[in-house]
Symmetry: C2
Subunit: 318 residues, 2 copies
């Protein structure tokens, strides 16, 4: 277990993941309250909104309003997801976001057609335009983000060649743009990963790109989220995207059920109990998860907010 990191960085995506997929409207004030609660937990990055077409994703129509109203807290990075040039233009027009550029591709071409409405070459062109936009605003291109890495509801099992091919496309684009993103994010967008495929794919990508930092973005649709995260930890992964309460999911992934990301508080509970530091206050996270549940108006899948952390039990026995 010597590869297991001693500190893990948690990137909270609950607001963005959750607000984009919830069927009912969520009041802007409630979104802001949840973001502000998350700000107080010790999380270092919160992806708060996505700038996407409000006709396709009505829950994000108030993205600008959310960004205007949340309370900025020192030490927290407030980021946003953009999937096309128009989105980047909207994002960079705010001075209340801590943006960086990502080059986004999909290991499944069928998925990117559904999600972004573009094929591989059109996506490369779009990413080029988005990067130009970020760079024009003085922002750096920090990430390569690959979707549908472990399997795709529209394409089936995904071979490692497709994963490496999608990364190679983005590396080539980065070369052309003369930027050098050091982070490669691997997303199990449709929850096809298992602990063994996590190890296989992370191993193959690291083998090809040994000097890059790998990040896992895992979904819990089929209950394997934390098992997959643990397999990632064993491979030395020390940065994960998670969502408070297990909020969220991609509206174009043909999910049913609990489509959300790995649950932030459950992940932090596992890490804390394993002696791995996160810099995050678990009890404050649990409070934020309870708030998230109130905001969306239905139970969220996270377990620790119901089962309880072990702190209260240990305190009572001390």
């Amino acid at each position: 277990m010597s590869d297991i990191p001693s500190f893990v960085n948690i990137r909270e995506e609950g607001p963005r993941e959750g607000f984009q997929i919830e069927p009912g409207p969520i009041a802007t004030a409630d979104k802001v309250a949840l973001i502000d609660a998350l700000s107080r937990t010790g999380l270092s990055e919160i992806q708060m909104v996505s700038f996407v077409n409000p006709k396709r994703v009505p829950g994000m129509a108030d993205a600008e309003e959310v960004v205007r109203r949340y309370e900025r807290r020192p030490g927290v990075h407030y980021s946003a997801l953009c999937l096309n040039k128009r989105g980047v233009e909207r994002a960079v027009s705010s001075d209340r976001l801590d943006l960086y550029g990502s080059l986004i591709a999909s290991a499944s071409e069928k998925f990117i057609q559904r999600n972004q409405g573009v094929d591989r070459l059109a996506n490369i062109a779009e990413q080029r335009a988005m990067a130009a936009c970020y760079m024009q605003a003085g922002l750096s291109i920090e990430r390569i983000a690959i979707m549908a890495v472990f399997g795709c509801n529209f394409e089936g099992d995904i071979g490692i060649d497709k994963v490496l091919g999608a990364i190679a496309d983005m590396k080539e684009l980065a070369g052309e743009l003369q930027v050098n993103p050091r982070i490669i994010s691997l997303a199990d967008t449709m929850a096809w990963a298992t602990p063994s495929s996590i190890k296989r794919v992370v191993g193959a990508v690291r083998n090809r790109y040994p000097d890059h930092k790998l990040v896992l973005h895992l979904h819990d649709t089929r209950g394997l989220g934390l098992a997959n995260a643990y397999a990632g930890l064993e491979m030395g992964i020390d940065m994960f995207d998670t969502a408070i309460g297990g909020l969220g999911g991609c509206p174009f992934a043909a999910h049913k059920g609990a489509a959300g990301n790995v649950c932030t508080e459950d992940m932090v509970f596992m890490l804390q109990e394993m002696g791995i530091e996160t810099g995050v206050d678990l009890e404050a996270l649990i409070d934020a998860a309870v708030l998230a549940e109130r905001v969306v108006g239905h139970p969220l899948p996270g377990a620790v907010k119901v089962g309880g952390s072990l702190k209260a039990l240990r305190d009572a026995l001390a």
Copy 2:
């Protein structure tokens, strides 16, 4: 990953775990229907009832009736849990159960006081009396089962010395009885385990008892069930207790929330997708989980019954 087994044995405990803890009454016919549905999935053992005091566990008052009415299917072992001599007497009076004896102890003395109302020495005496009863009925003593191995809501963290001490008590009793149970079952009764404590404790027990088969009985109260199971797989564990739909929990463990065992169909999904055989039909298990949910009348925590297995998706793409 060379320790990961190629075949894993799943011991279904959903009926026993579920019927004992559900707050509302469940009709005997519904219990029988669920057991019969589980019989058709390829599971090799189903723990169907417990013979416990009906005043303490009213949901098990109809245990005899359930045993009389279920349909015996060749190749399936139908077992029962007994926690005292009176329970064993009730169990062995039926010829419709495939019983074996277990020597049961707790790594936490405070827990066994709550659960069985006895202290360590009184429990050893009780186990001696139970074993005599099993042996008198011509049954073998096959297991040592240790509860509260990874932590206790009443005692806190549990040191490995207490785990080894509880096993040593039962080994000593086995020696006195001139029996040689080859299985040691380690239960995370109150969901304190993490992947790292699974590895630590399994390693220590195996080190002390290298010629015994170790079994994990894991609860999912804090969401770590499958991550812990995966850590067990990596330690070569090839037998797990699970519960359909994630049913169940111990009525005396002071749980709140989803106290159930690791969910059978989610576990089988993980194993199947990792290429590990179980001999169980996942789609039939999912049907049984949906039935279990109907029987208890509320949502159960299992994810795959909602998120769907990957078979339908792969079939649609083939």
